[in-house]
Symmetry: C2
Subunit: 202 residues, 2 copies
Amino acid sequence: MVTHPNASRRSESSRRAILTAALELVNEVGYAKLSIEGIAARAGVGKQTIYRWWPSKGTVLFEAFLMLNEGEDGEPAALPDTGDLEADLKTVLRATVEELNDPSYDEPMRALNTAITEDSVLAAAYAERLDGPMKEVKKQRLRSAQRAGQLAEDLDLDVAVDMVWGPVLNRWLQRAAPLTTDYADSVVTTALSGLRPRDPAS
Amino acid sequence: MVTHPNASRRSESSRRAILTAALELVNEVGYAKLSIEGIAARAGVGKQTIYRWWPSKGTVLFEAFLMLNEGEDGEPAALPDTGDLEADLKTVLRATVEELNDPSYDEPMRALNTAITEDSVLAAAYAERLDGPMKEVKKQRLRSAQRAGQLAEDLDLDVAVDMVWGPVLNRWLQRAAPLTTDYADSVVTTALSGLRPRDPAS
């Protein structure tokens, strides 16, 4: 046995304390002022304990997000599939808008975005472990609609996912305009129908 | 006369030196390590000269971007309008992709995005002075297409702009996947046609 069970349990509880402290602190002070020292103090551990596991504040924050997203079985939940694609996408995108507008999520998610914007290694980890699995779940829902003939046969599902979720994420990040559920509805309708007129007179 | 002409000229040349230094430095060290001290040293001015005009490194960087975007007449250029909307949008979006992939633009633009993500006052200035005028130019092109019957009559042009530019900006920021001109073409085609099948059998 390499690790004594008590040591392993202590280590797991330190890990959770550190990740929770990182989320709380970033919410209070923002990413620019988040520091390993601050996280250590809040979690009641030494700085070296954090540096043993993570090289930077960005990686701590990323791990904290992974912890938040861990389901019972470690898999992200499937999107609703009632057979009505437009209604299902509106349900999901409205929930995303509400989450992004929730002050307790807004700041940590901005921080994570800053971290991955600045660190390409972290961006790769994010793409693989957080964004990738979520994207797969979105594509599953679109694939089901495509099989039902509700989406174009030759549609690139990666582009389709970006088309539905990209505008909302971009508007949120740039704070270009208020992010409302009406906007979410409008994005879904417009993405599905396209910008061109439907049913031309010809 | 409030300001002596020589003083005014010196002041303008200091201002340009500071903004140029900010762009060069952020390119070399990234936004997290950009500092007012570093900008002052590079520009050959005192820290107080910078603080007299700008409250933070983010606002210096924003002003540097405004300087880059100033045309001869201070107006952003109109988008191409050959009458072929799809071709024109592909031309513009490919140019955007090439700019975002250019290392000398990539880092300063990431930094600006980080700055506006972290600072809601700066985000408002960005929306009003940089993003807003560019968005108006995009909407002008779409309005011309709408008048020509190439876009749906009831289309919300703000949503339409987000639909065409949002996915590219989002993919670039999140580094979710390589940003290619093929991707830009695909976004334009998909946005115009929509995700649903065209010409249904019915």
